[in-house]
């Protein structure tokens, strides 16, 4: 078991009377790449800012390496932040930007020069020492921001949607860069994003948040394959979320048809939500599947076709490399292992966490 590095205990925070975080508890282990994932306004950035020391929680405390740092000023914390819009010092050149933190710590000149060289090499920006930030591209500026943060040898690097402003290709490149960096540096990364693909690609541990609550925590595989509620299912990748009835253990009635599944313990004749990933929906010739329907839309996506099949009044989202022409009649078949059954939200509060549920 990895060592616990950061612990957030019962954190609450409100802005202008609006509750952003409500009794949040979170443990971050050493050397993990942790991603806080959620839509805007879910509290992920506030959580990061509380860890960084830029916000003070109304309730609760932050423990870092066994020490309560709730009221510690940001400049005294052993962590550094990479901001969404880079926040470079535009009046200083790249070298001066990187040297900023070292200079405050009164490091000798040689040490600073070595560090600058090392950091620039690490982020692939050798030769850019005397460029001004405004003359660099977005990706380059982001690399400078990362270099500026890591030269201070923080125990934790906080990254607030650092790739948000970059274009797709660059974003993908930077994702691999960040993974590589994390491995080379051997420190903890806490990464905030609303992009589930980014989260799935880079993280060791994902924390899905919505409206101030943690919805689910786990490895990327756990989160993707076994979403605990409709919000997570919907937010992580495309999903078919269907209101259904659990007939008994290992049998669920979806849209009036009984499906065999692997889930147990929901009781008998209980309303549940069922999640089926679009790539898990198989289209088979008429008569060979469980439910019959008609293909209503087809879009070519490159890797696969995205099809919409109307069956029993529900529009099923289907991803497949095999094309079924629009208008053609097909049957739907789902492997029992791919049917994910989830509890329906019971309280109103829980309902609020789940705006997409119908």
């Amino acid at each position: 078991m990895k060592k616990e590095l950061i612990k957030l205990n019962h954190i609450s925070k409100a802005f202008d009377g609006e509750l952003i975080l409500d009794d949040l508890n979170l443990v971050i282990h050493e050397n993990e790449f942790v991603t806080l994932l959620g839509p805007s306004g879910c509290g992920k950035t506030t959580t990061l800012r509380i860890i960084g020391g830029f916000e003070t929680p109304d309730k609760g405390n932050v423990v870092f390496d066994g020490v309560d740092i709730t009221d510690l000023a940001p400049n005294k914390r052993q962590l550094n932040t990479v901001f969404q819009k880079y926040a470079l010092f535009t009046h200083m050149d790249v070298a001066e930007n990187i040297a900023f933190g070292l200079k405050i710590r009164n490091k000798p000149q040689e040490f600073i020069e070595d560090k600058i060289n090392y950091a620039l090499k690490l982020v692939n920006l050798e030769g850019y020492e005397h460029r001004m930030p405004n003359s660099l591209s977005g990706g380059q500026q982001q690399r400078v921001a990362i270099a500026r943060a890591i030269v201070n040898e923080p125990k934790v690097l906080l990254l607030d949607e650092p790739l948000g402003a970059l274009d797709l290709k660059l974003r993908q490149d930077m994702q691999y860069e960040l993974i590589r960096l994390k491995e080379e540096l051997g420190i903890t990364f806490i990464y905030v994003t609303h992009d589930q693909e980014e989260a799935l690609t880079m993280s060791d541990h994902i924390v899905v948040m919505n409206q101030g609550y943690i919805q689910q925590e786990g490895s990327p595989e756990d989160i993707y394959n076994e979403p605990e509620n409709a919000f997570v299912a919907d937010f992580i990748g495309d999903s078919n979320i269907i209101s259904s009835t659990m007939v008994k253990d290992e049998l669920v009635n979806i849209l009036g048809v009984d499906f065999v599944c692997v889930d147990k313990g929901f009781g008998e004749m209980k309303p549940v939500d069922v999640v089926i990933r679009p790539e898990d929906v198989e289209l088979v010739p008429k008569g060979e599947g469980t439910i019959s329907g008609v293909v209503s839309h087809v879009i070519f996506k490159g890797v696969h076709y995205e099809m919409e099949v109307t069956a029993r009044g529900y529009k099923w989202l289907v991803h497949s490399t095999k094309l079924s022409e629009a208008g053609s009649e097909v049957d739907i078949k789902v492997d029992p292992f791919n049917i994910q059954v989830m509890n329906k939200p019971e309280s109103e509060d829980e309902e609020a966490l789940n705006p997409d549920a119908d």
Partner: protein, 624 residues
């Protein structure tokens, strides 16, 4: 063709922009005091400037006020902007609206409001009140420049610096402030300019004995600007140009650095730019030190003197200070009416005034001056008995006033511009003199001319007689080149007009400056006037005031003063000491009895009488 038009257009623009300044600069080297006549190249106005403590003092005041108010307003304004970034948008808009009020508000309203506030709080007006006023109106200008720049700064930049270990202030200074430098400097420059520029607010909050260049120049404008003012304006303009060029060069040099710089330098270099930036506060501190060291030390022993413009030899003021150790704050008024208004306000705390006859009566009538402590003015024995008698007309017991100067009002004329020497006021209504006539811009003198011409008493309060006089003055208006006060002298020296209604004292100096000039007291009669020293009821230093008056009565001082201002002295002992026989027997300076017989002095007309004259004068000036 097109390029020619472009060039012409550019040329015209340049002329419009720079012709006034060039005129001013050229005139600052003109050895003739007249603005119309080139008297040859001279540097004497610049040299005079060094000795002109009043202008230098005003200049120092202006700079000190501008510097301090700029620094304070810039700091407060910038901090306020930083604070504003922390509040939500709606409160920010409200706060901005409130802080902008002094800027949007008419200066006159701001000025009067501040004046009233200072009065209500019993805050003594002077340097500090002006400084506070300037800070007040400068803050919004700084904020106006800084806030938009502040808004463009990513708040994360500040947090990034904190994150990298900087303490809050260090983070602000190193990460945020450099991005604001240009706008903070722009704001400061704007504030500095506004402060130097300001006249109205300063005028209302300055109280007595304190002048900035703008209020000083304003006083001069009313009386005719002295060439020294052209000189100082030229210097200011030149300094500004040099500063601008320096800052431009500095910026260019800064931009061209950086190429082969080493990777990173830790040691703190003091760049040239930073060195110059450090010089500015150092310079400011020096000025401040000099200023406060000099001005505020002897506050307890000051004497506030309020006299007409160019009506004393400045060396005499210095001599008085040297002999008695009393610091003299010397202010000048344009007309007696302005003086009266100023004294009437509480905040004008003058000790000694030098008004004329009828005004003295008015001051006594309104209980605004005090009886003199005659035992402390032994030198009053030097004043000729006939003048003490004459002053009984307005000061029956000789208790309030000691005569200082006297003279007649008459016509100064240029012998080369008239057919024959004038003998009557009628010449001022003669079509032949159209455009060549200068009238006095003072109510009593102007009406005196018209009243006497129509055979009335110059002290009349009969509305019908005044109406006739007013109509006469209106009829005369087309012929009049200008209504002037002290400029009459300069204009006549410069040959700009043929006739001017003038005080005899000015005549002496004018005739010395242009030998074509001559003077006549018209046969119908005229005004004889007597200016005296009086002490205000609210005088804070009556002791020093008595010393001042006694000093003025000393024969050597009276003589020295007479030789400088050339106004007839009532000091018989001094008159006897005049060596120049021609001057001693001058008909202008010391007219014979026949002239004096046909002259009347003004009497106080009472509130109603004053109002009547004021109304009539307004009618004359507006022509309705």
């Amino acid at each position: 063709m097109r390029s020619k038009i472009e060039k012409l257009y550019t040329g015209i623009i340049f002329i419009f922009m720079y012709a006034p300044i060039v005129t001013l600069m050229v005139l600052s080297f003109n050895s003739s005091k007249s603005r119309a006549k080139w008297g040859g190249f001279t540097l004497k106005w610049y040299i005079n400037l060094i000795h002109d403590s009043s202008v230098l003092n005003a200049m120092a005041n202006t700079l000190v006020i501008a510097l301090i108010s700029t620094v304070i307003a810039t700091v407060i304004g910038t901090i306020t902007c930083v604070g504003l970034m922390g509040v939500n948008r709606r409160s920010r808009a409200v706060i901005m609206g409130i802080t902008n009020i002094p800027m949007i508000n008419a200066d006159i309203v701001t000025g009067i409001s501040l004046m009233l506030l200072f009065k209500v709080l019993h805050f003594e007006t002077g340097f500090v009140s002006v400084l506070i006023a300037h800070i007040t109106f400068n803050i919004p200008y700084v904020m106006l420049a800084v806030l938009p720049a502040m808004k463009t700064i990513d708040p994360n930049v500040y947090e990034a610096a904190l994150d990298l270990g900087a303490k809050p202030f260090h983070a602000f200074r190193k990460a945020v402030l450099p991005n604001l430098t240009s706008s903070v400097l722009a704001g400061a420059l704007m504030a500095f300019t506004m402060s130097i520029d300001d006249f109205i607010i300063t005028y209302f909050t300055k109280g007595s004995g304190f002048d900035t260049l703008s209020t000083k120049i304003y006083n001069e404008v009313k009386r005719g600007i002295r060439p020294e003012i052209y000189a100082i304006s030229t210097i200011i303009f030149a300094v500004v140009i040099v500063l601008l060029m320096m800052s431009e060069r500095m910026r260019n040099r800064h931009a061209s650095v950086r190429k082969d710089a080493p990777l990173y330098k830790v040691e703190k270099r003091i760049s040239r730019r930073r060195f110059i930036l450090m010089l500015v506060p150092a310079f400011a501190i020096i000025i401040l030190g000099m200023y406060f060291g000099g001005v505020f030390k002897r506050k307890s022993n000051q004497l506030f003197v309020y006299n007409a413009g160019e009506y004393i030899d400045p060396e005499i003021i210095e001599m008085f200070s040297e002999e008695t150790g009393i610091e003299v704050i010397y202010d000048e008024f344009e007309t007696l009416e302005i003086m009266y208004a100023k004294i009437y306000q509480d905040d004008a705390a003058y000790d000694v005034l030098c008004p004329s006859d009828y005004m003295i009566a008015k001051l006594i009538d309104n209980d605004m001056i005090q009886e003199l402590d005659l035992d402390k003015i032994p030198n009053r024995k030097n004043i000729g008995q006939q003048y003490m008698e004459a002053s009984k007309a307005f000061d029956p017991g000789n208790k309030y006033a000691i005569p200082y100067c006297w003279g007649t009002v008459g016509i100064l004329y240029n012998t080369t511009m008239v057919d024959e020497p004038p003998t009557s006021w009628d010449v001022l209504w003669d079509e032949k003199g159209a455009g060549e006539i200068l009238m006095q811009d003072s109510i009593r003198d102007a009406f005196m001319v018209a009243l006497i011409r129509n055979g009335f008493d110059p002290n009349t309060t009969d509305p019908e007689e005044l109406a006739i006089a007013a109509d006469d003055l209106i009829a005369q208006k087309p012929l009049v080149q200008a209504y002037v006060i002290d400029q009459a002298k300069d204009k006549m020296i410069g040959g700009e007009a043929a006739y001017a209604v003038t005080y005899s004292g000015d005549v002496m100096e004018a005739m010395a400056g242009n030998e074509d000039l001559d003077y006549v007291v018209p046969e119908e009669g005229s005004n004889v006037w007597l200016d005296c020293w009086v002490v205000t009821k609210k005088a804070r230093n009556p002791e020093a005031a008595m010393k001042w008056i006694d000093f003025m009565c000393r024969p050597d001082i009276a003589l020295k003063n007479f030789e400088f201002i050339m106004y007839s002295t009532p000091n018989t002992a001094a008159w006897e000491m005049i060596e120049d026989e021609e001057l001693k027997n001058s008909e202008v300076a010391f007219p014979g009895d026949d002239v004096l017989k046909r002259c009347t002095s003004y009497t106080y007309l009472g509130e109603e009488g004053d109002q009547l004259y004021n109304d009539m004068w307004k009618k004359v000036k507006t022509g309705e």
